[in-house]
């Protein structure tokens, strides 16, 4: 039997949740003895693959690219984990929501700029009107709040999911 396929995705977040994932240290060996890491910023695969068993999604859904990615992830993933406060509540990326996209971009790219002020439109994906938690866009199976969630919690979660148990996220909390 082939190993369960685990993926991680980095949307609008600071990558701190992925840092915390790496913080599992030698327990990473235990996890990836039992599972294959098939996609994510920690490995070099270009396309989000089919038939993913568990996907940890870090970050809020803030741009058209995030939206496209998360829909694809949902389609191809059995158990989608909303991983960390940005994915769960939109957290820091969501702080722009009361401001609005236009005033936000004006402030960042026009008002405070002296050299060639312009709002980027090529290459970078367009921002959505608001930055939203993942579960407002697609169905989420497991929530793991925390900024970031501790390595212990991430290990427990993956350990439980790989063993086919309902993950125990006792102790998880917003912020840290």
């Amino acid at each position: 039997m082939s190993k369960p396929r685990v993926a991680t995705v980095w949307l609008d977040g600071c990558s701190g949740c992925h840092m915390s994932l790496i913080d599992m240290d030698e327990r990473l060996l235990d996890i990836f003895e039992r599972a294959d890491l098939v996609y994510g910023p920690l490995v070099d695969f270009k396309e989000f693959p089919e038939n993913v068993d568990v996907c940890l999604v870090e970050g809020a859904v803030s741009s058209e690219d995030d939206l496209h990615k998360i829909k694809l992830v949902r389609e191809r993933t059995k158990t989608l984990v909303s991983f960390g406060d940005c994915a769960v509540t939109s957290n820091v990326p969501g702080m722009r929501n009361p401001i609005g996209v236009a005033p936000l971009l004006d402030r960042a790219y026009l008002e405070n700029v002296t050299l060639n002020p312009q709002i980027p439109s090529d290459v970078v994906p367009k921002l959505l009107p608001t930055s939203t938690p993942v579960h407002r866009v697609v169905k989420v199976d497991v929530f793991l709040p925390g900024c970031p969630p501790s390595a212990d919690l991430i290990y427990t979660l993956l350990d439980d999911l790989l063993a086919g148990r309902v993950p125990d996220v006792t102790g998880a909390r917003f912020g840290r």
């Binding site: 769960v88 957290n91 009361p98 709040p145």
Partner: protein
């Protein structure tokens, strides 16, 4: 002589004096009823509704901090139904304004954050309102970030009842409700504020904080002064 009443809370036989609230009797008996506006040393207000309990024989829920005990009362402080309500109330507090624990001065020292953890809230089903809310940093020592205010009104009560200044009060209604200094003027221009900082110490969240504090460094370590001040005040006959 004080009349003693006996009653039950969560099936336990407990006793209290006439005039005590369900909350006080529960506290004395080590029964934890959650609350964010209740604070020993200032009068109760029933603002947060988290301490709602079931009382046998009445169909309505009652706020434990606002309900005085009577003989033979049968109180349920913990049930599935109450847990569901408490989660919903906490969730509504989070989505009503802009609570961002990760970058809040009160991170790890916040009663709202603790409440969410205690109730095992892992996410919010309700959408966030994301209102545009002001911060008043005009005071020399302190600031108020209305983004984090849950309208528990501890600041209003401590300023009035303990400090006797009544700088804080409440303005507007509904979602626009705000605590205000004097008649809605900037805090720094207040002529009644004594800069004592009690409001900052009693604030359950990061709404009121000392200036110069970084993220997660706004602990409220001076708080035990409150009940003591109340005793002093009573002894002076004020």
């Amino acid at each position: 002589m004080t009349t003693v009443f006996t009653l039950q809370i969560d099936g336990r036989d407990v006793a209290g004096s006439e005039g005590q609230t369900v909350m006080e009797v529960a506290e004395e008996n080590g029964i934890d009823i959650p609350g964010l506006c209740h604070l020993e040393g200032i009068h109760d207000r029933g603002a947060c509704r988290l301490c709602m309990v079931e009382i046998a024989g009445t169909p309505k829920l009652a706020a434990a901090c606002m309900t005085t005990i009577v003989e033979g009362m049968d109180v349920t402080a913990h049930s599935e139904r109450l847990l569901e309500y408490r989660r919903a109330i906490t969730e509504m507090m989070f989505v009503e304004r802009n609570h961002v624990c990760a970058v809040c001065v009160a991170n790890n020292h916040c009663e709202l954050q603790d409440m969410a953890a205690d109730l095992e809230l892992t996410h919010f089903d309700l959408p966030r309102i994301s209102p545009k809310v002001d911060i008043d940093a005009s005071h020399r020592l302190f600031a108020i970030d209305h983004n984090r205010c849950i309208l528990c009104l501890r600041c209003v009560r401590v300023c009035d009842e303990i400090e006797g200044a009544h700088t804080w009060d409440v303005m507007n209604r509904g979602l626009d409700t705000r605590v205000q200094t004097d008649m809605g003027i900037p805090w720094g221009d207040s002529t009644t504020c004594t800069s004592c900082g009690k409001c900052v110490q009693v604030c359950p969240t990061g709404a009121l904080f000392e200036k110069g504090r970084a993220v997660a460094s706004g602990s409220k370590r001076q708080r035990p002064f409150l009940p003591w001040l109340k005793v002093v005040k009573e002894e002076r006959g004020q």
